[in-house]
């Protein structure tokens, strides 16, 4: 059976369409929503997004493989992204990577066997003043120390967004947990 979007994603796409002069502009959002609904991008889910944006599957596949955050390989439900670019590297990002690897039993770039967590090394997150910087499901954890890794992993395993993120500026912490990428 052909893949479909969830009702929520369908609603988001429908309201987005009016914002752009050309339909094609919703391709990247459509790929993200396909990923949200069906996990890492496959030929089928790329086709789903392609149809939505009115482009060919080949064009959508080209876009899906260009952007680092559109995942075509195995990807976990939660993402731990560790910045390893220069300022974070100087501040000890390698130790953070090692600690997460130890706790999760995987190496950087891999996903846990249960599909819950992916551990990714990423390029500059624009948080160099409070380095090392880590993002958990796109929420910033600044000046992150290896001692904090355990609490992050425990929270994610318990189905909670970890405490201590920068969150939405001036935002309600309860609402922040609902924010998706």
């Amino acid at each position: 059976m052909a893949l479909e979007y969830s009702q929520e994603s369908r609603k988001a796409l429908d309201s987005m369409r009016a914002e752009y002069p050309e339909l094609r502009s919703i391709l990247i959002p459509a790929l993200k929503l396909a990923m949200k609904d069906h996990g890492s991008l496959t030929k089928e889910s790329i086709e789903l997004a392609a149809d939505e944006a009115g482009v060919s599957g080949a064009v959508a596949a080209g876009v899906a493989t260009f952007y680092h955050n559109l995942h075509t390989g195995t990807i976990g439900k939660h993402l731990i992204m560790i910045c390893t670019t220069i300022s974070c590297q100087l501040a000890g990002a390698t130790d953070v990577v090692s600690r997460f690897e130890e706790l999760l039993g995987i190496t950087i770039g891999e996903t846990t066997d249960d599909g819950l967590i992916s551990l990714l090394a990423v390029e500059c997150l624009a948080c160099c003043g409070n380095s090392p910087a880590v993002q958990v499901d796109y929420d910033y954890f600044e000046s992150f120390q290896p001692e904090q890794c355990e609490a992050v992993v425990e929270s994610l395993r318990a189905g909670r967004h970890p405490e201590g993120g920068a969150g939405v500026p001036g935002g309600d912490p309860d609402r922040e947990a609902e924010v998706g990428a």
């Binding site: 914002e19 752009y20 002069p21 050309e22 094609r24 502009s25 919703i26 391709l27 990247i28 959002p29 790929l31 993200k32 944006a53 482009v55 080209g62 876009v63 260009f66 952007y67 680092h68 955050n69 559109l70 992204m81 390893t84 670019t85 220069i86 300022s87 590297q89 100087l90 990423v122 390029e123 500059c124 997150l125 624009a126 948080c127 160099c128 003043g129 409070n130 380095s131 993002q135 796109y138 929420d139 910033y140 993120g165 920068a166 969150g167 939405v168 500026p169 001036g170 935002g171 922040e176 924010v179 998706g180 990428a181």
Partner: protein, 434 residues
């Protein structure tokens, strides 16, 4: 954030990092009561023509804060009027240049000021639909920007017939998907159009043929955040800050081996020492500074001795063979290994090259290979010249500035710190002869 974030040549008030902004002007109510919120938009719409707004910005000589430093008012003038097509404004919030984190500060602390800057600029250039492009990692910041847009709409500051002026303007937030190159303005336009983020060949410049083939002006978050103050106080007031050619203040993101890293606003023309020693408290590890990337990892490295008594202006940086770039200062001290630093950054560029131009795609890969073997103690003296040769073949041979940004700093580092590279090679030579 400490309170002493601003440093002027004389006793002048900060423009962006006012005490209220440092505390946070997040909601419309806060921005209105403590930040003169939307008074500049009202002034522009009720008392000025678009041409008059444009003229003030030209007078201010505000130069783009994204990296290239091109005068914003001149850029606005490149968009043709009466083409029969819409004109678009795109705010570049794809902050990704290693070392840069000042736009994130502005998005978090003063989201409404950006929205106001986008609206005033749209009015000046005749745009009715603006886009704010944010990197995907600004997910929580985007929530705040979207809230600001909704709050503005509820108060008739955005949407139809804004403040009864008869002028309409919409703002759409577009989220990237993880690609450094999308900070390059034409790659960014392709990304909004749902394409791979590859830079376009110029000409035509985006001011003529930009988003959806229409005239498009692209300005950085910091550039646009300065517009409300310029309209409220006048272009001449803004130009009275700084030097003749480098006017105003700038946000510097300072990181690396520095006692107090963070975002700092300085008036153009203060000395590097005023920023790094007085405001940032000097080195973090009681080791002397060795070197710095003055304006981001794409700007050629400077030895610490080169900035003695030098002031911070575009011209002074240019004389030293480098740039102020995006205002991202990454400081290294005597214990940092230049080979390791250059390898880290070369790896970044290899990862982020869009692959379109051969010299960049292949050259960035080769530079990492050569640097890796030097770092591993397997390099030769010839590798140092080979590295410079590869870098020289990238520079000037690609369709966007990425190639120069990747290669220039590598070549400069090898030239300025050759003895450190030679020492790594000498170790390998000695090992090889054992």
């Amino acid at each position: 954030m400490s309170a002493d974030v601003y440093r002027g040549v004389e006793n002048r008030e900060p423009i962006l990092m006012t005490p209220e902004a440092v505390e946070g002007l997040v909601t419309l109510e806060e921005y209105r009561s403590k930040g003169a919120g939307y008074t500049a938009l009202e002034k522009a719409l009720k008392t000025m023509t678009p041409e008059e707004v444009h003229e003030e910005v030209k007078t201010s000589n505000l130069r783009g804060r994204g990296g290239a430093g091109f005068p914003a008012g001149v850029k606005w003038g490149f968009a043709p009027k009466d083409t029969g097509k819409p004109t678009y404004l795109v705010c570049n919030g794809d902050e990704g240049e290693p070392g840069t984190f000042k736009d994130r500060w502005l998005l978090r602390q003063t989201p409404h000021r950006l929205v106001e800057g986008v609206l005033i600029t749209s009015y000046a250039i005749g745009c009715n639909q603006a886009f704010i492009y944010l990197r995907q990692e600004f997910d929580r910041e985007a929530v705040r920007i979207r809230s600001a847009i909704e709050e503005a709409r509820e108060s008739n500051l955005l949407g139809k017939d804004i403040l009864g002026s008869g002028w309409d303007c919409e703002i759409t937030v577009f989220m990237g998907a993880g690609a450094y190159i999308c900070g390059e303005e034409t790659a960014l336009l392709n990304s909004i159009e749902g394409k791979r983020g590859m830079p376009r060949v110029r000409p035509p410049f985006p001011a003529i043929v930009g988003l959806y083939g229409c005239p498009t002006i692209i300005n950085n978050v910091e550039t646009l955040s300065n517009i409300p103050a310029i309209i409220n106080n006048g272009g001449a007031w803004y130009a009275s800050y700084g030097t003749e050619k480098s006017t105003g203040t700038r946000l510097f993101s300072v990181s690396g081996r520095i006692a107090n890293p963070g975002v700092y606003e300085v008036e153009m023309g203060v000395t590097w020492s005023a920023l790094l020693d007085d405001l940032c408290g000097g080195p973090s590890r009681e080791k002397p500074f060795k070197a710095l990337y003055p304006g981001g990892s794409s700007t050629p490295i400077l030895k610490a001795s080169e900035i003695d008594d030098v002031i911070m202006t575009h011209e002074a940086a240019f004389e030293l063979g480098t740039f102020l770039g995006s205002g991202a200062t990454i400081v290294l001290d005597e214990d940092d290994d230049i080979v390791d630093v250059v390898l880290n950054l070369a790896t970044f560029y290899k990862h982020e090259s869009c692959g379109q131009c051969t010299p960049c795609r292949e050259g960035c890969r080769w530079m990492v290979e050569i640097l890796q073997r030097i770092a591993d103690g397997l390099g030769t003296m010839d590798d140092l010249d080979l590295l410079i040769d590869v870098a020289d073949h990238i520079c000037g041979n690609t369709i966007c500035a990425f190639g120069d940004g990747a290669a220039g700093p590598v070549a400069t580092a090898v030239k300025k710190f050759r003895s450190e590279f030679e020492a790594r090679v000498a170790v390998s030579t000695a090992r090889g002869s054992e």
